[in-house]
């Protein structure tokens, strides 16, 4: 390994550079636009440039239609995955599933904005993003089926584990980016969290470390308005979560989280800036958790149906679909083929999660350390013996367990 880039602590320079590049003040660079970036209207028409919420220093190229069509396909699959998994919970095949129904545009855009070699650090709710990045859907479900804490190799797709302790994973992303930067690699890290998670101390520490070391990390906050039952107004008194960027000398952005066009535009720009050495950026996407926190939650206890319905009208799939149909990109045939693709993934999930997984009790001791300690070997032997003895007195089919 060769470490080649310049030393940390270059905060001022990079801010000054951004200001020079965009010809605006430091505050204007850091402050998010007063509204939010939106490119596609709620009824699926492309907004004129001067109504997209952008301002000097905050301009965004619109992706070409083919890309939008491909993104839409991902949205369709993502929605199907969410609904399939929720069904699998009801059928007892999964223990729990925190659905991103309604947030699929954020999920898809977070995967599509990255290239090979980049890293994603997702949360428990980002299963669709992880799948869109290429991880086998069944492996993504391992944690929720309960046969292990995680089912995929983070190195295989450069996707961190789906983190449960809130916001902790942002720091892991910062570390991955730091190591890459020290080696002179141009890796970008997308570090994801929810609105509630921004209140945790680790959020602060992660953004600050990334800014001080000028690391290529895009912090992506899916503001779905709730942390379980707690609405955004109880998380922050700031005008927006993107305003938090200012305190780190970082640029903040707000984007319509149900508008995949705006999301791709904003995230692509952020990733490009980060890769070019701008330092980290913070992107807040306004979206909505259409369902309960998980199947174990009862959302009617803390929010009303009118609010849910108002957001249903902004559904990210509908908007994109209307636009693509109007643009002539989305024919009935294409739509049918997307539905088939989605159904294929759903079927893969159903099949993959149909049987009881084979599990080996000795796995309990195998991975605690790279090699088991004498104590763990003792405990492993103890359990093996216990199982063997109980098998002697129990039905034959348990005997395979050791």
């Amino acid at each position: 390994m060769t470490i080649s880039v310049s030393s940390p602590g270059g905060g001022e320079t990079s801010l000054a550079e951004a200001v020079k590049n965009f010809g605006i003040s430091i505050e204007d660079y850091m402050l998010p636009v007063h509204g939010q970036i939106q490119i596609l209207s709620e009824d699926g028409t492309m907004l004129p440039e001067d109504r997209r919420g952008s301002s000097p220093g905050h301009q965004y190229p619109v992706p070409p239609d083919e890309e939008l069509l491909a993104a839409y396909r991902r949205l369709v699959i993502g929605r199907r995955v969410n609904d399939q998994n929720s069904a699998l919970v009801r059928q007892g095949r999964l223990a729990v599933y925190p659905s991103s129904h309604g947030q699929e545009a954020c999920q898809v855009a977070s995967a599509l904005c990255l290239r090979d070699g980049d890293w994603m650090f997702p949360t428990y709710r980002d299963a669709v993003a992880v799948m869109t990045r290429g991880v086998d859907p069944v492996d993504v479900m391992t944690i929720f089926r309960g046969d292990w804490h995680g089912g995929y190799d983070p190195h295989a797709h450069q996707v961190g584990i789906q983190s449960t302790p809130l916001t902790t994973q942002l720091l892991h992303g910062v570390g991955v980016a730091h190591a890459a930067k020290l080696r002179g690699e141009d890796t970008v890290v997308l570090a994801m969290c929810g609105d509630g998670a921004t209140s945790e101390g680790d959020f602060h520490e992660a953004l600050n470390f990334a800014a001080v070391f000028q690391l290529p990390v895009v912090f992506f906050v899916q503001n779905n308005q709730y942390a379980i039952s707690v609405p955004l107004a109880h998380q922050t008194a700031a005008p927006s979560l993107a305003h938090k960027a200012v305190g780190y000398g970082m640029a903040g952005e707000r984007v319509d989280g149900n508008d995949i066009v705006a999301l791709l535009a904003v995230l692509d720009r952020a990733v490009t800036l980060a890769r070019a050495g701008s330092g980290p950026l913070l992107v807040e996407a306004n979206t909505y958790r259409m369902q309960a926190h998980t199947n174990a939650d009862d959302a009617t206890r803390y929010r009303n149906q009118a609010e849910v319905e108002a957001w249903a009208a902004k559904d990210p799939l509908n908007r994109m679909r209307h636009y693509l149909r109007a643009a002539g990109q989305l024919t009935d045939d294409v739509e049918a083929s997307f539905a088939r693709d989605a159904e294929e993934v759903a079927q893969h999930l159903r099949e993959g999660l149909s049987g009881e997984p084979e599990i080996d009790p000795q796995d309990l001791f195998r991975y605690v350390f790279t090699e088991p300690t004498p104590q763990l070997r003792e405990q492993a032997a103890f359990l093996a013996d216990e199982i063997a003895r109980s098998a002697d007195t129990a039905p034959a089919d348990l005997a395979k367990e050791h």
């Binding site: 101390g201 379980i228 039952s229 707690v230 803390y302 309990l364 001791f365 605690v368």
Partner: protein, 351 residues
Amino acid sequence: MTTVAEAAAARAAANAGPEPVTFAKALTTAMADAMRADDGVVVFGEDVATLGGVFRITDGLQKEFGAQRCFDTPLAESGIVGMALGMAMNGLRPVIEMQFDAFAYPAFEQIASHVAKMHNRTRGKVTLPLVIRVPYAGGIGGVEHHCDSSEAYYAHTPGLKVFTPSSVADAYRLLREAIASDDPVVFMEPKKLYWSKEAVSLETLRSEFDAGATPRAEGRAAVVRPGTDATIIAYGPAVPPALAAAEAAALEGRSVEVVDVRTIVPFDDETVCASVRKTGRAVVVAEAQGFASVASEITARVQERCFHSLAAPVRRVTGFDIPFPAPKFEHWYLPGVDRILDTLDELQWED
């Protein structure tokens, strides 16, 4: 020792007397009663207000006591504990909820460096009547980070009291005592017992508590099943399997006494040692990983204090020294009846 009769009565008398009550209900009622009795008691944490907590333990409190006395905080555990400390300094009695065991870890510095030390540091000038409720341990098929047994971290930290009820009556009594205590109490609630039921009368418990009629449970272990041949020492989620094991052992003709520690700090050496001196054999059962744990402590102090009464080494049945396993592996991890019986069998009965 005073609760032997009561506990036995409560556990046995499901066919007569009061309606069955859940452990969860007992906790909720204890908080509500404390809030009624003292308007300095405030309850806060994540999702405790409108939702009533993810386990519904604080259900109804905001409705009855208003948003000033039961409220949600931003999502930050260190913030919750640190703010609670300041509120306790300034005349209130906060009862705060950590949503799950492992999610109390962000607050570890506030707990270990301040909550535990403030009274000592100020020579008693500042008291911290503060209860940190921690739903803990497994048995509910929870995913990672939702099933840690974290009691040893707190029990090892001087200045913290650590309570952990295993019966419905103790859930009520100990939580009332914790809230009434002028010392900070980490109140460990075995999640898997939330939905357990016993026929106890919360009204009776309330009036007994309010009248100071029952002796304090703090610092007193309970002999929850009497016996003569061996002692099982357990607490929290390990008490039900310990009792079940004792019952199974009885069928094999072995009379096993079960002691429920109830408060890990302060620890009741008297009751525990009296039992072990009488029976001459001891097994310590706890769900947490065993290494450097509360079970280690109990084992160490029992052999230190009862050495010459012991016919066999004090043995432990604990979780393995591994991260709490995924749901489908849980049954291999949890100390169950068979494992306790096996260990009882090994206590050198032939001698």
